[in-house]
Structure formats: C-alpha cells, structure tokens
C-alpha cells in the first residue's frame, strides 16, 4: 500500500531533495542568470554544440519574421520529415513532428494528418510567444526529424524515447531513460505520464522505472520489463553531457540526448533547471550524488576524469546492474 505521507527520516536517509533545495543550492548557486540564455534558446544551444563538435539534429531553418514564413513550405518538403519547435519552449510544449507530406497536408509522428494552414497557425502561435517564458515573441526552429534507433522499441509506445543525464559542475551524476506512453501522447514528458527509468551510470543499463511518481517495473502499455536493457553509445553520451558543461558554463545541467538510427546519439537540448523526478526513477535521493561533487574542485579535470569521478560516486550509492 502507498503511504499517504512518507517517513521524513527515510527520505532524509536517502537524501531526497525538494524543489526549494534544488532552486537554492543548485540553480541559484551554480547557474548564473546571464548564462541561462544559452540553454533557454535552443538555437543558441545548437550553435554552441556544433562549435564544440557535439552532434545535434541538423537545422533545416528558422522562422523569426513573416518574411521567413514564405520559406515554410520549402522547409517542410525536406525528405525524412522535420520537427518544429519553439526556440524558447519548455517541457516539450509546442513541438510538432512531421514525417512526410500526404494529400492536403502532412502526416504527424502520431499518425494524424495536419493541413498546411493549421501548420502555419501553429508556427504563428510559436512566434507570438504562446510557448515561450513570459510570453515573449519567439522563433520557430525546424530540425531534421530524428529516426529513432530500435533499441527501446519494446518499452516505448509510439514516440520519442530520450535520455536525460544530470551534469553537476561538469560531472555526470545520474541518468534516466524517458519513455513515451499512451497517456503521454507519444511524448517522453514525465509530467504528462511518460515513464522514467533509472540508468546505471557506469554501463547505461536500465533499472526500474516510475510513472506519475509511482514505482513500476514494466512498461504500462507494452507490458515488457524495464530492467536490463543496455543503452548503446553510453560512453559517448556521457562525454557529450560532460562537454555541455564546458560550452555553457552552467554548473547544474540536464542534457537531453536521443539516438538516431543512422547518426548515433544527438544532443536534443539542454536544461538549466532539470527536475527532481529523476530521484524516483533512480529510487534514491540526489543528495548522495551531489555532496561529493560539490565538495570537490572539478575545474582542472578533463572530461574523462569527470566521467570517472561521477561513476565512482555513483557506485558508492548504487550497486551496478548487468544487462539481461
């Protein structure tokens, strides 16, 4: 039975932290406000990543002005499909993924059809700031559509699984796999009912999962066990996440990575205020991972050294799991 209120002592033993503590000790303390711009605006993040050699989905075009709108049809015609995103969006809101043109419009990733005028309206809404922080006018980004590798097909329902790695002062400390479900409408968004699965930081092997802050061990739609799947390109992903610290300077980061069938791991976006639900996915609080890293000066360490340090801390908290 789920207790109505938990034991505070047990939460403290596991080092679970709340939003107040995250905001004060991590976001306010480690992420200077003027640097947040670098991750809030996805087009800036993308340029930084490209300059640092971190692979990202290719940019098809941006729409900032009504003049740019004239190029919309041409951009949408790109073979393989495109994803339309608000540059300053958050929590995956306002993202539309188009797979290919069909009669009278385009097909969306979830199989529905959308007319060109509906698409134009959506882009106009993005530009007028419907999805941006504070309702400021925004830019619409069009990126190549990522063709997802099939690794997680057994535990995904119609959509986009991605990997979130939390990086503290350049050290990857915890990671989780986010899986779309029927209720989340193909989005790997935990607020909308997506599934979060803890990943072993040393190997990328999946552990148990969570949905709506409750613990689960199989995917709610496919029924397949969540545990024991090996994430490919693991070392590469850790290194991409650790490098994201070097290019942005943000001490508390969430790196969101997807695996393309052809190109391998791609950095989708960076988050300067990553949430705390990852604690439930990992069945343990963040504090145990954070304290040793905060206590250490990581400024002189190389990417490889930081990854090794993060894994060392991880092993002091969790026992490793092996792929099934």
């Amino acid at each position: 039975m789920r207790p109505f209120f938990p034991s505070l002592a047990e939460l403290n033993r596991k080092g679970v932290m709340g939003l107040n503590e995250r905001n004060l000790r991590l976001v306010t303390e480690l992420n200077p406000r003027h640097l947040m711009r670098l991750v809030n605006d996805k087009s800036i993040t993308k340029n930084l990543a490209i300059a640092a050699g971190i692979p990202t989905p290719e940019l098809v075009g941006t729409i900032r002005t009504s003049w740019d709108m004239r190029g919309l049809a041409e951009m949408l015609a790109r073979p393989g499909g495109v994803a339309i995103k608000p540059a300053n969006g958050s929590q995956g809101n306002g993202i539309l993924v188009i797979t290919d043109p069909v009669a009278g419009g385009y097909r969306l990733a979830n199989g529905q059809r959308i007319t060109f005028s509906d698409l134009r309206f959506h882009v106009m809404n993005i530009r007028s700031g419907m999805y941006s922080l504070g309702g400021l006018p925004d830019t619409a980004l069009l990126e190549e559509r990522v063709r997802f590798a099939e690794v997680f097909d057994d535990i995904s329902f119609k959509g986009v699984p991605d990997i979130r790695i939390i990086v503290l002062k350049g050290v990857p400390i915890v990671a989780m796999l986010r899986l779309p479900t029927a209720v989340s409408d193909g989005k790997a968004n935990l607020h909308k009912g997506g599934v979060g699965v803890g990943l072993d930081l040393t190997s990328g092997v999946s552990r148990l999962g969570m949905q709506y802050n409750g613990l689960i061990d199989q995917h709610p739609d496919t029924g397949n066990p969540l545990m024991g799947l090996k994430t490919p390109f693991w070392e590469e992903m850790l290194s991409m996440a650790a490098q994201a610290y070097d290019v942005t300077g943000l001490g508390y980061l969430g790196a969101d990575i997807v695996i393309d069938a052809d190109r391998g791991p791609l950095l989708l976006e960076l988050n300067g205020r990553p949430g705390i639900a990852i604690q439930v996915a990992n069945r343990f609080g963040l504090r145990a991972h954070i304290e040793p890293v905060l206590a250490r000066d990581t400024s002189g360490m190389s990417v490889a050294e930081r990854i090794a340090f993060g894994q060392e801390v991880y092993l002091s908290v969790h026992a490793p799991v092996s792929a099934s």
Binding site: L8, L11, N12, V16, N20, M124, N213, Q279
Partner: protein, 521 residues
Amino acid sequence: MLLTTHATRPTVTSELHSRILALGLILAGVFVFLHKAITLDYPIFPDETRTVWNLEILIEFAADNRPVRIESFLPAKSEERELVDEQFYSGPFGLRLDQEGENGNRKAIWTYRYPEGPKVLRYRTTLVEETRDTPLPPEMQRENRGGDVLFETSLERQAFLVWMSNLRRQSADKETLVDLMLQELFSTNLSDEVAALVRPLPPPLDRLELARMVLETQGVPARIANGVILDDARRRAETVSWLEYHLNGKDRRYFTLGNPSVFFPLWYGLDELVDADGVTELSTQLSLQPSRLAGGSGAASGLGNDDPLLSLFSFDKLPLTTQLVYQVLLTIPVGILILVFLRQFVGIQTLGTFMPVLIGIAFRETALLTGLLLFSLLIGLGLALRFYLERLKLLLVPRLAVVLVFIVLCMAVITTLTAESGVRIGLSISLFPMVILTMTIERMSIVWEEYDAAEAMKQGLGSLAVASLTYLAMTNSQVEYMMFNFPELLLVIMGLCLLMGRYMGMRLSELRRFRDLSRPE
C-alpha cells in the same frame, strides 16, 4: 522547524547575510511595535475604533406623465469634511449636481420628462460625525459691526426696539445678552413683543430665524443649520434645526431640544430638505447606521504626535479617503506572506505567481461567496469562448483582447441584470479586475490543452483556495487594525519573507510526491 534538512550548506555567506538582515528587520519591527504598545500604550485591539455613519436619503413619489424636478440637499464637501463613497441611485432620471449653491449648500437635481408610476431615488454616503468642537468655516468666524433690522412693519420695528432695550438693560455684555435672548425666545410664555416678532415659519424655524436676525444686528455671524443627530441607528431619522454662531472668538451651537454631542449638518437656511415639482405622494426618508472604521483610531493618533519617530509612521494626517486606501493597501503584504508560505512550505499550485492575491483583493468588492460565484461564472464563460476561438485560429494578442472584451460584456450584462432585481452585486462587479480574469482564462486553457482538464481544474481550484484564504486574512478587522496602526509590522513581514526565501526543506506536497521513495527496501 518540522521540515528542515540536515544537509551541509555551502552558501554560508548569503545564508548568514539574509538571516542577519531578516533578524534585523524583524527586531526593528517588533521593537517599534512593543514601544508603541507598551510604552505609549497604543491599543492593540480595535475596540476604540472611530465610528462612521452611513446616511441614506430615500425619496419616493408617484408621477403621472408630467415633467418632474426633484431637488434635494446633500451634505456639503470641504477640505475639512470628506464624504466617502457617495452613491446615487437615479434610475432613468437625469442627475445634475449643484456643487456651490447659496449658503454653501450642495444640491442634487433629478429631472425626467415623462415619468409614470411610483419612483424611487436614493442617495447614499458615509460620513464622519461632527461635534461641538468642530470648527465653523472661516467666513463664519468674522464678527462685524452689525447692521439695521429689516422688519417690514412699524409694529414689528416698535416691538423689536422695546425687546432689545429690555434685553440690554438686563444683560452685562453681548454674550449674556445673546444667552438671555435665546432663553426668552424658547421659553413657553412669550412676551407680547417677541410674539409679534416671531417669523411666519414652521417651528422651530420661526424662532431660530428671529434669533439669527437679532444676532445679525449685533454683528454676530449666525446661520441656521439643518441636519441629523447621530445617537444611534435609525431607520427613520428626523431632521432637526439648530443655530450656529460665532461670538467672542468661540464657535457656538444652540440646539432647541436636548444637548446632542454628535450630529451632522446637511444643509443651511430655511428651505426643506427635498423640493419636488410635478409629483404626488412625496415621501422623504432619512436613515442612519453607524459602522466601525478599523483604522484611524483616535486614541492612537493623539498619543503619537509628540514622538517624532512615530509621527513618521502615522497615517492620521492623511485625508480620510487616502486613509481608507492605505487601510486596504497595508493588508496586501499579509496576503502575500500567506501566499509565500503556501507555495514554499505547502506547495499549492496556482495559476500565476501573485494572481491569487489579486483575486483575493477583488473579492473585497464582492464579498467571498458572491466573489467565488462570479469568478467561477466568468472563468467558465471565458473558457468556453476561448475554446471556441481556438477554431478560428487567431494570433495570441488579438485572441486575448477578444476574451477581455467578452469579459467586460459579461460583466455589463450581469450588472444590469442584478441592478433590475435590486441586488447590489452590480456596483461591486464593475471593479472586478478583468485583466486578471483574462490572463487566468488564457493560462487555464493552455494548461487544459497541454495537460488535461483535471490539471487545469486543480490549478484553478488551488488559485481560488489561496485567494479565499488571503481574502479572509486581508479583511480580518484585527489584521486591518494592526497593519494600519502598526505599519512597522511590514518590516516583520519582510523579514519573514527573507527567512522563507532560504527555506531548503521539502514542501508538504513533495512529501506526498516522494512517498513511494520512503519505503525501506
């Protein structure tokens, strides 16, 4: 505290800094508060509040298709005298205000060409009582050399001369002469001379007017005041008349009956309160009701004046209307404090950061139940429109504008409907903040689309719950009284907010969120 964590904190400097600042603010606030409460003996509870009076003039009459003109005196306004919250209920009648009539009177003039059937006109205001110490206006305080009497007949002139010479013989100076004159005038047995002089007016105006004329001949400025005596709540108050004059550097008032301590003059001169043309069955009703004003305690203002530190903090010198504004304004931080607590410690989700407090302030105009009802109704209507507009595919800002216009329209309809049925929501709703409503609708519909109806309802209800709580706190008379008379408590609130700004523990909602993590494995 219950929810503190045991983590080590690397941010010692900012932590310490904010704590010292918070402590300093709280100590300063508490020190001034205790100094006032204990040393200066300010009352902490609003027992000794100033009473204000709600006055209503109700004019009823029947009209039969003839042009109608109704004139009614209204309490005059001046710098010394503030009327709060004047309201006119004129129905279809045209209303004109005559601000500067003769004798310094103020008049409302209602007109209508072809009225039919029974009609009602109303005037309502809130006023502050006057006492014998209330000074007369400066033009009343100039004594002059006196003048000739304007009695028309020789008989009257003769009687006046006899009476005056008698009075002069029996008195020592002007003051005793006036006292004697008044005493004789209002005794039951009038001498022949006085009986001949009494004016052809309804009592007591007949004798008051004679007294006023006599005073004028003596160079004593005098006028007849008509008004109400404020002794207790009266559904039907009678108007009384009295004499006001200035003699030997003192303002004096002569009442024909009794010796009331608090009263309020409505108009000056010999006219009647209401003068109507073209109507039948005229009835005028004056009613009075005392109500307590939490702020501006007279006891507190008298004590603070000698202390230079405290006179800085005192609002008593401000005009009454400004005081009333501050009485509301000063309670808002209390609402904010509650909001901060509910967000940082409890973790209630609301639409927008300070939106609930703004809604709470709006409830002030409507009272809680009506406010909740109106708010839910308008939000419901607005959401329906918003979902309809979604089909039209409008740009963001014009769409917001359409919703806003719609809200104003809904308010107008509700106001007219309620005005017909006589319910008083009508006036209060006009101040209901429509921009807040519009933004709430937009946010709620986005949450509705991005998540689901349940989430939107949750946040909407959260907002209303917080709004209700802050409203109850902000309208509590003790809170109003304390904040108004002890504004130094703002420092304490600021300090508490600083302390809460460094709270790192779990929110109550998070304890529930992470409840599955607390099971030992």
